[in-house]
């Protein structure tokens, strides 16, 4: 065996979107992907390694592309990797193609073959081809193309071992005697002539997909189903999560009590209970909701409904100048703007993509939920309005709708002003319905949940610790004669955080916010949900007993004796959170995806202005109404 044949191999994996590329990548590498970015561009780069016989193979999972002549940022990366512009080019290529749409896929295969690299064609979904009555002669396809052709069923792992063997010696792969034609028309004729002898029976339409689509995309039923799916989506997130959230909340409180009992009263106990456990715990509570949300999002996506939802809603999105795929991204932003912004990568038009990214933070992400839940729970009466519909739920729905409406209005404005012009074609593929494997689904959900936990474990932990220090130092002495609660309040007010909150009090007083809310707002610049942790710390320090909800309800201004949280203040605070971009992660991902500081700064600025203006108006209006 020669030296070259055992040297490590760099293999490029490419194919059009929906070809089953990611499933094959996972089957080959066993999910051990190294995720990063391509140098200088914002497209995600996934790489994995495995052994093919004696050979170490590194697979680079290239973004999905319909053509090597790029239109979208993702496609541009494929072309640049192949030409060696971004990094040293792969030594061999694996082209993944859906066996059921070979007529189309061969157009891309032909383009790839013109590159002259050792290439192997992998046909996915051969099980579906058979189920749809199609018959394909693989040997003849091999002969006609002049390259090795293998069939796999990626999610069952069938054919993957044979593929691994094949990858041991790409230098021995046969090469086409002549490159396929260059122009698309000639390449289509080339593909047709090949398929005429290879495709013995053309696959029929997928019966199941046909049958389901007849209902799901029915003019009346389809719209109805769309509405029901969206409604169920939110109901499930709130209802299913409640028991688990209550359990976690109780656990955290028990842990805090345990620590208080075990430790001598003093700085360490304060730090552990008021700082660490209260801070991080108030965020971990949202894990159940986030798990449910990501499960539903990935399930809808993997089953194939997301593309249908985009198809149904495209007309509406078209009105505001966006497209159906932006809807999927905005829907994901209900979970978190970070995956939502990352989902815009499938939008080919750079301007549409930018508009979608800039309005994604307006969608009510799960980090706002703790804030809404706290304020609504404390100040909106739990009254039934009609039947099972409660007032608290209606207020929550109104907040969600306000965010969505603002996103649509801002998107329409941006498309007509700053980001006008440049029309790109709208096109979208409707994949066949398919049950995702539990393994794939679980790995996707785990990826998202662990990202959230890492955030809670790093940013929020750090903010909690710093905040506790800012709230606790300098440890000033309260004047004698004050009650214990008032003394604690005095110490808080003269701490570093208290001073900062008081410093911005003149700025936020027009919104009805006092210095404590000011401290909360400052800390929430890191992440929205941190304000709950901050308020928990402020009130835990000042008020030993009772829940945070009761504490903010009881809180009065010591100078005037009036309640701090009036209806007008609560309404203004909720409004502020509907609009403001208080999230480091979102700013970081915007920076990464737009490759500039310009756009994250713009997003932060316009949303802050919007939040301040809207809160001011709401505070005045509600105050006038006698709130």
């Amino acid at each position: 065996m020669s030296q070259a044949a055992t040297a490590p191999l760099r293999l490029g994996l490419l194919g059009s979107p929906n070809a089953g590329k990611t499933t094959l990548f996972n089957a080959l590498t066993g999910l051990h992907a190294k995720v990063g970015n391509y140098p200088g561009v914002t497209v995600e780069r996934r790489e994995g390694s495995f052994a093919a016989g004696e050979r170490q193979v590194t697979v680079i999972d290239l973004p999905g592309a319909y053509s090597l002549e790029p239109l979208s940022p993702d496609e541009a990366v494929v072309a640049r990797v192949l030409s060696g512009e971004l990094e040293s080019p792969p030594q061999a290529l694996l082209v993944v193609a859906d066996a059921c749409s070979l007529e189309r896929s061969l157009l891309l295969v032909g383009q790839v073959l013109r590159r002259g690299l050792p290439t192997c064609l992998v046909l996915t979904m051969i099980d579906e081809l058979q189920a749809r009555g199609g018959k394909l002669d693989r040997d003849r396809l091999e002969q006609a193309l002049g390259i090795p052709v293998l069939g796999v069923v990626g999610h069952r792992g069938r054919g993957v071992d044979a593929l691994r063997q094949q990858l041991e010696h790409p230098e021995r792969w046969s090469r086409p005697p002549l490159p396929p034609p260059e122009s698309t028309e000639d390449r289509a004729a080339w593909a047709d002539s090949i398929l005429a002898s290879v495709l013995r029976v053309r696959p029929g339409a997928s019966r199941n997909t046909e049958r389901i689509d007849r209902i799901v995309l029915h003019p009346v039923l389809g719209t109805l189903i769309f509405g029901v799916v969206m409604l169920a989506f939110f109901q499930l997130i709130f209802h299913w999560a409640t028991p688990a959230m209550d359990a976690i909340d109780a656990g955290i409180r028990a842990l805090s009590a345990l620590a208080r009992d075990a430790l001598p009263a003093g700085l360490l106990a304060d730090f552990l209970c008021d700082g660490l456990i209260a801070g991080v715990g108030s965020v971990i509570v949202f894990l159940p909701q986030i798990l449910i949300l990501f499960s539903l999002l990935y399930l809808l996506e993997d089953v194939g409904y997301m593309a249908r939802a985009a198809f149904v809603i495209d007309r509406v999105m078209g009105r505001i100048g966006l497209e159906g795929r932006a809807f999927v991204s905005l829907l994901s932003s209900y979970a978190c703007a970070v995956p939502g912004i990352m989902a815009t990568r499938t939008i080919p038009s750079p301007k549409n993509r930018l508009v979608t990214m800039l309005v994604a933070p307006l969608m009510t992400c799960s980090a706002r939920l703790p804030v809404y839940a706290l304020l609504i729970g404390a100040f909106v009466p739990a009254r039934q309005v009609a039947g099972p519909i409660g007032l608290q739920g209606l207020v929550l729905l109104a907040l969600y709708l306000a965010g969505a409406a603002a996103a649509l209005v801002v998107a329409a404005l941006l498309k007509r002003t700053l980001l006008r012009g440049e029309e790109l074609p709208f096109y979208m593929e409707l994949p066949s319905y398919r049950w995702p494997t539990a393994r794939l689904l679980l790995s996707q959900i785990w990826g998202s949940a662990s990202a959230f936990l890492r955030r809670a474990g790093t940013i929020i932990l750090a903010v909690s610790v710093v905040l506790w220090a800012l709230l606790s130092f300098p440890r000033s002495e309260a004047p004698a004669g004050l009650s214990q609660t008032d003394a604690a309040r005095h110490r808080l007010e003269h701490s570093l955080a208290g001073s900062a909150g008081r410093a911005i009090e003149p700025l936020i007083a027009p919104l009805g916010f006092d210095w404590k809310i000011g401290v909360g707002l400052l800390s929430s610049l890191a992440a929205r949900e941190v304000i709950v942790a901050t308020l928990a710390q402020i009130y835990a320090a000042a008020d030993e007993e009772g829940s945070l909800r009761d504490a903010i309800r009881r809180d009065v201004d010591p100078r005037t004796g009036a309640p701090v949280f009036t209806p007008a203040t609560v309404a203004a605070l909720l409004t502020f959170f509907v609009f403001a971009l208080q999230c480091m992660s979102t700013l970081a991902v915007l920076r990464r995806e737009t490759n500039s500081w310009h756009w994250p700064a713009f997003a932060f600025g316009y949303l802050l202005a919007l939040a301040y203006g809207a809160s001011f108006v709401v505070y005045r209006v509600v105050s006038q109404l006698g709130g």
Binding site: E69, L71, R104, T184, L217, H218, T223, P425, E429, L430
Partner: protein, 99 residues
């Protein structure tokens, strides 16, 4: 970005083409359930034309209108073994001869 030799899409259709193709209609006007053959892709924007070709709307290929979205647009088409949704604005760039 595109190599010059790959420019197969005319930037605007020559006037005589409309006369020679009297049986051709815009794809956007193809009735649901009907099949047709693509005659030409004539998009004013070459990038749109290029992408429609990449998606399989190549002259000579068979295309079928499958269904309309509940709100009236886009329409799902079957072309070269895959199912692609196009808005009327894009579909009108493709001229087809009904079969």
């Amino acid at each position: 970005m595109a190599s010059p030799a790959s420019q197969t899409v005319p930037s605007s259709p020559p006037p005589w083409l409309a006369l020679s193709g009297h049986a051709a209609i815009p794809l956007s006007e193809l009735a649901l359930g009907r099949s047709a053959r693509v005659r030409e892709v004539a998009a004013a924007n070459p990038r749109i034309g290029r992408r429609l070709l990449d998606l399989g709307f190549v002259p000579g290929s068979s295309v079928r209108a499958l269904r309309r979205a509940p709100l009236g647009d886009p329409v799902e088409y079957e072309v070269r073994g895959s199912r692609i949704c196009l808005r009327a604005s894009e579909a009108s760039c493709i001229r087809v001869v009904p079969e």
